[in-house]
């Protein structure tokens, strides 16, 4: 136990007490676990027949397809949200007032509205104009989900990009202009690379959010992992009931595995970046919403930023 702000280094008495608490704590946790297992058993959820369904080829194919569909939505929405984020961030830092205002308004509106509301509205909209939309009209639920995810996460990613750009020291921009670089060159060769480098962990953490939010497809009856496995469980009867519990445990484990893989990638990149002694400091691998410092910046290398919560001109 390293020194913490809460406790002094434990003496013999405290060590004894901590050991006692450890034993009691372990017992309490074991009791909790035992109770859960007991309840599962009492309800017949630990019956081999219930778990035997995962040996069925059809069930496995179903789960695999669900995972692939979820990953497909995630891949498309992830890439699109990064592209949109980049565009919105650059627009929000533009020198043209209308462009800046439009980007600010767009970001603030779609960041404040629940993603589910946006997805549902898009889905209904696509359904209404199904016949004039071509590709989108053929698969309304998919595109409603993807575009909803793109819009919301793009707005968050835009703020992350902007925070990264604003973390670049102002002197660099002045030096670049002094060398005669153009505006777009300053953005592409100087600001963006450093912004991405410093914000990569935060961006990946937001991608974890994107991955988790693909499950909202359940609400608009799109067959991603949750909806696919749920309809599957509805159609299987073991011992006179649907195996919701077993399927939920398996699906939960799959989601946790996917998200943890991505989160640990973010943490790894953050650690790697921390080792470097040069350049802009690497941000933490936390969700941007959890890092209040990330999303409100008053002054960047391009001068004061407007549209921030407590920034007054």
């Amino acid at each position: 136990m390293t020194a913490s702000v809460l406790f002094d280094a434990p003496g013999p008495k405290a060590r004894l007490r901590n050991r006692l608490y450890s034993v009691l704590g372990s017992l309490a946790l074991l009791a909790l676990l035992a109770f859960a297992v007991y309840r599962l058993d009492a309800k017949g959820q630990l019956d081999p027949a219930v778990w035997n369904i995962f040996n069925n080829a059809g069930v496995r194919t179903n789960i695999r397809d669900g995972v692939l569909t979820t990953l497909k939505v995630f891949a498309v929405a992830g890439v699109l949200s990064l592209v949109l984020g980049l565009l919105l961030a650059v627009a929000r830092l533009s020198e043209h007032r209308p462009v800046r205002w439009f980007a600010t308004g767009f970001i603030e509106l779609f960041r404040a509205v629940p993603l589910l509301i946006t997805i549902y509205a898009l889905w209904v909209l696509f359904l209404t104009y199904k016949n004039d939309l071509g590709v989108v009209g053929d698969n309304t639920a998919f595109w409603g989900l993807v575009i909803g995810l793109t819009v919301y996460n793009g707005c968050v990613q835009a703020e992350v990009f902007r925070a990264g750009i604003n973390a670049v020291p102002r002197g660099q921009v002045e030096a670049a202009y002094a060398l005669g670089l153009r505006k777009h060159q300053v953005m592409t060769t100087l600001l963006l690379p450093q912004a991405v480098r410093s914000m990569l962990p935060t961006m990946i953490s937001q991608l974890v959010v994107t991955l988790k939010d693909t499950s909202l497809g359940y609400v608009i009856t799109y067959t991603e992992l949750l909806y696919a496995t749920r309809t599957m469980a509805n159609n299987i009867v073991v011992n006179g009931e649907n195996p919701f519990t077993a399927v939920t445990i398996v699906v939960g484990a799959i989601y946790i595995a996917m998200c943890l893989t991505l989160s640990s990638l973010a943490t790894w990149i953050e650690r790697r970046g921390r080792r470097a002694k040069t350049g802009v400091a690497v941000a933490a691998a936390a969700e941007p919403a959890e890092q209040p410092g990330v999303l409100d910046v008053a002054h960047g290398p391009l001068g004061p930023v407007d549209g921030d919560a407590d920034h007054t001109r």
Partner: protein
């Protein structure tokens, strides 16, 4: 415009539903989160492990899945006969508690060790150190992340509408099923959420000003 005027009662119900659910889940999440944070900073290894497992589990599970668990697993295995509103409260507060726990923990970790050492060398007891030195300084750091956590909670409460709890998403569904133009419904519902989130961030900014400590 007509959508709003003709269905003012629906909108009001939904708005109140969202506010109530957010408030209640926020309170429960705060309590749970502080307890779990206490576990995570305690000198007792099993409790620390429990806290870590709790946070990892709930942060990496989609909220929709937690809603499904609350609806189809909890009643079968643990407590039968909960109302939909209670189930939504369970799912939302457990999910949010993981984020609250992390915010509280990092708040405690930002207090410099020297502060606590100075307090102990003055002869303060554990509870005095906590009450007078550590917590007042930690609170300040916790307020900003807590504000974004509660805003996220407000937005997350929309999922409860998909599970037949009266709130704003339910209103959106109802009115769009009745055939009103979705764009107008979306704008009014968005406005309602903007009102709530702005109130939350304003309230927390006020708190931050009141509780500010010199660093």
């Amino acid at each position: 415009m007509n959508v709003l005027l003709d269905h003012l009662a629906d909108f009001r119900e939904g708005f109140i539903g969202t506010v109530l659910l957010t408030l209640a889940s926020g309170l429960v999440a705060m309590m749970l989160g502080v307890i779990i944070a206490g576990f995570r900073v305690s000198p007792v290894p099993p409790l620390r492990m429990f806290g870590t497992a709790w946070v990892t589990l709930f942060r990496n599970t989609p909220l929709t899945l937690l809603f499904l668990i609350a609806w189809f697993v909890v009643p079968v295995i643990f407590v039968p006969g909960l109302s939909p509103w209670m189930k939504a409260l369970l799912a939302l507060s457990f999910y949010t508690s993981a984020f609250v726990c992390e915010a509280v923990r990092s708040g405690i970790n930002t207090v410099p060790l020297g502060q606590a050492e100075a307090a102990r060398s003055l002869g303060m007891t554990f509870s005095q150190t906590l009450r007078l030195i550590v917590l007042p300084q930690a609170t300040r750091t916790v307020i900003a992340p807590l504000s974004s956590i509660f805003i996220a909670l407000t937005k997350n409460s929309a999922i409860a509408g998909a599970f037949s709890v009266t709130e704003l998403f339910g209103v959106q569904k109802l009115l769009s099923d009745k055939g009103f133009p979705i764009t107008w419904i979306f704008l009014w519902v968005a406005l309602a959420y903007l009102v709530i989130t702005f109130s939350i961030s304003g309230l927390f900014r006020l708190l931050e000003r009141r509780l500010g400590v010199a660093r």
